[in-house]
Subunit: 540 residues, 2 copies
């Protein structure tokens, strides 16, 4: 449970988010709707910046990742194949007396609706046995509402990437290893939305599925698979001899670098390697990147344990295999390099690699419930495919939640300090110390006084000079100190003030402006014609 | 109905979109899902560019518009207030024999499922009377599926803007006139999705709600309201004396300018002023901006009539008034300028303006079914509010469909011509002549040969030089002529080729590259160190 001190901090953050237009409750004028949150003007810009940085880093700055933008409603068959229809559920019980419905594993924490002083577990009314409650939102597509028209809002963006894997492969001139990236909304009918925007029912994901060669294929082509211990940390450059472990480690490092690059210091993050018993049955390894939110639980040492921002999973070939089985469409690739390499291997090597590939495929097929004889036959065919250059790619999945990241950025940016006001009197200040890359507003342009047309005219010229290149906020209302404070609360890294010196009152300062730094309030003068080139490197 | 020639053109466009990874059918490996489309790597980039340009033009480049990002699922009360629960429907009939369900107004066009040679209207089986079929997708939020848990996927993004109007007003430092912009998905359970991605069930909107003062308020403050005939077309700068007509015209012009700026020539667009009998009951004027799609119907003169890309509606104060009535929360604003101006008016002027405001409010209230005496009382109170500086803003709504615009851009860009291949033989070429601003890839970087490490190294240097600033595609596979053709089909405006002259084979060309223009295939040489500054202005 969070400490009182931290609850108080979260309350301040929530209040600031509302007050400054970062986050509002959805449908607030109608009493809200539980688990849904809107982003106001500053929040929308912050979110756009983060998504744009992710997209740019993950796709545009790389040769080996392309983008996809798929629909939220897809064929329900996709969620059969992925397992979501059958297993994406929480156990629920109903109270036969009050008709309330509760998470079976939370009855000790949920007050009884009839007697709120007691928990549901303490109430003696008869309950139903626990039943699986699917977390996917369901709807009907088309004019007839019957079984055949059922569809779901996607609970994750990943499955569309798997379903379109072959289309992308065939139209994008990519070869394995390569990735497909997607940003978009997902929906989970959480029974208990909580922790502000951290666990909500409608949220946004940024997911990469990075397809790689199975280790047997890497070994056939490169002779052997790189050992993790051979890789030097910060100088990772992808190499042909990388197997899943190296790629997985690479993406963990890449993703942490991303978070550091947008202003989350390494010591606010936790790199959590899931224990074997925590792994999904198809996962070979999963690393969760946690951020130490104020509402995080504390570990035995009293440290904030952190809550998940992103999971980076090595998912083997499970996903593509499932879609191949359910759709009847081949999801494997043909790899000329493998075919050529295979023919040069000695028989012992071929047999060894085939056996390992066979065993991995058999293990997968056995789990799916295919009957043993059929599974063995299929696994053998799959292993025989290696000689023809055929295999099903494995995948590394870095999957991040946008809304959680936004909340982490705001929590991390939130500071209170004291700073002298215009009369030199110390006052408490709230400031959001965003990295300039994500800050909603990059620079505020402020004429010293509103009622001096020369100041206003000059300030508007400065605004128009900067605006094509970065997000500018123009504000001429109120005392300059108050305007600074408002920009502090918005997280604007730089304020530019146009004063009488700008107009030439002191000739040596003509056509210069005051730059005021958000973090320490220090000021310096800069020539207007150098302003843009001074600012641009600082915000990129 | 579309002409055969145009159907053939659409078929080519659809085929190119699939082949090059612009658009795929959603869930294709499972047989697809009717009315849902995915964007592949090139489509996703094209769509991002368009949305980014809209957002930038509509919000970041202006002082008077801010952004919002609201949820897709909102309180169902919002759709009661907006009228969607009661009236957003098509009339449907059921066949009691075959159980088929059909749009009552399309029975003459839909084949009978039992005897497809006949239309539904020709079948004599008994049908139900037409019933309203609501086009909103419905789901349940929370663990219990009862009436109180019903929610809808938003059928438009606009209503979230109205519902959050006061929150944005209070937190953004904006004053009327100002706008709130939003980009996001919307959903309509269309009975008959058609024309490729033009009418689909899941689509994306770019909507602005621009809030303005009622004409009576403008007149109170400015003495009189600007006449449309006084405004000069292309030199519109917003002015305090603008009423709804001037603002409406302003946004029509702005939006057409936007379309021209991303490469849709004026003669491909139609500015259609809805006739009085076509207007929604609350609308004072609506202009549809149409694009002449190949599948558009033809008018009497044989000209393509065009299909709607965007509607720009003057919606009066209907939306905010509805939400005020349904939520019980005040949606009006306080306007110090009005309060101050009002006190200086003579009594006759006050009476005249009050009367007009009263009549407009009464007209609205009478339409809502409020009982006459109550309506008169409320309208009087509203009119009395003017003296206190209070009113409900009116709104101008430019509402655009992203997917339609993407399809228009692709249709407009599609060209076939002939161009000599490397041996000088003329061949047919398919080229997408996108405006560089929207083109998914801005420049392709191509080493002449893949197997010359010096060429590859130099090409990668050029790629890395450009990549931080624009979307670059690096391609080293295949004959250079074929690579050019692939970029033509992707709509890439510029190809940069690194050849032996770049390496200094002809010393005068050392460190220069070939620039090849997509539209005419012409080439010229350019120094590498001037390349970025040469490219940047051409793609912005």
């Amino acid at each position: 449970m969070a400490e009182p001190k931290e609850n108080a901090l979260m309350e301040k953050i929530v209040s600031l988010c509302k007050r400054r237009g970062f986050i509002y409750q959805s449908s607030e004028i109608y009493g809200g709707i539980n688990g849904f949150w809107d982003y106001g003007p500053l929040g929308a810009e912050l979110k756009r910046n983060v998504k744009e940085l992710w997209w740019n880093t993950m796709t545009r700055q790389r040769d080996d990742v392309v983008g996809l933008e798929a629909t939220i409603i897809m064929s329900p068959a996709i969620w059969k194949a992925s397992g979501h229809v059958d297993t994406f559920s929480d156990p629920m019980i109903d109270c036969k007396m009050c008709k309330g419905r509760f998470r079976a594993d939370q009855t000790g924490e949920i007050p009884c609706p009839q007697r709120p002083s007691k928990m549901v577990s303490e109430c003696h009314s008869e309950k139903t046995a626990p039943r699986a409650f699917n977390l996917m939102f369901q709807t009907y597509v088309g004019p007839v509402q019957d079984e055949s028209a059922i569809a779901y809002l996607r609970p994750e963006t990943a499955q569309a990437i798997f379903a379109q894997f072959k289309n992308v492969l065939e139209t994008s001139r990519q070869k394995v290893p390569f990735g497909i990236a997607q940003v978009g909304k997902a929906f989970r009918n959480e029974v208990t939305p909580r922790n502000y925007t951290f666990r909500s029912r409608e949220f946004e994901q940024m997911e990469l599925e990075f397809f790689i060669k199975p280790d047997e294929v890497v070994e056939a082509i490169s002779g052997k698979v790189a050992k993790i211990s051979d890789l030097t940390p910060n100088s990772q450059l992808p190499s042909a001899n990388w197997g899943w472990e190296a790629w997985h480690k690479y993406w963990v490092e890449e993703r942490i670098r991303f978070y550091e690059g947008i202003g989350l210091p390494r010591n606010t993050l936790v790199e959590y390697w899931q224990k074997p018993e925590e792994l999904a049955h198809y996962a070979r390894a999963t690393v969760d990147i946690l951020y130490k939110f104020p509402f995080s639980k504390r570990d035995e040492k009293g440290e904030l344990a952190g809550e998940e921002l992103e999971g980076i999973a090595a998912r083997s070939d499970f996903d593509l295999s499932q879609h191949e089985r359910f759709s009847g469409k081949l999801m494997g690739v043909f790899d000329e390099e493998l075919r050529a390499a295979w023919s040069t291997l000695d028989e012992a090597k071929k047999a060894g690699l085939s056996k390992r590939y066979y065993e991995a495929r058999l293990k997968y097929l056995n789990k799916t419930g295919v009957e043993p004889a059929k599974a063995e036959k299929e696994a053998k065919e799959d292993a025989d495919g290696l000689a023809k250059g055929q295999y099903i790619p494995h995948v590394i999945e870095p999957s991040a939640g946008v809304d959680r990241l936004i909340l982490a950025l705001i929590c991390n940016a939130y500071h209170e300090d004291t700073m002298p006001d215009e009369k030199g009197k110390l006052e408490t200040r709230v400031v959001l110390k965003f990295h300039p890359r994500v800050a909603p507003i990059k620079v505020a342009v402020l004429p010293l006084l509103k009622n001096k047309p020369e100041l206003v005219k000059k300030a508007q010229e400065v605004r128009d000079l900067l605006r094509p290149h970065l997000n500018v906020f123009y504000d001429d209302a109120g005392a300059i100190g108050r305007r600074y404070r408002r920009q502090d609360e918005a997280g604007t890294p730089f304020c530019v003030t146009i004063d009488f010196d700008t107009l030439g009152e002191k000739p040596e300062f003509k056509d210069t402006v005051t730059i005021r730094y958000r973090d320490d309030g220090k000021q310096e003068r800069l020539a207007i014609d150098t302003l843009l080139n001074w600012l641009l490197p600082k915000i990129r």
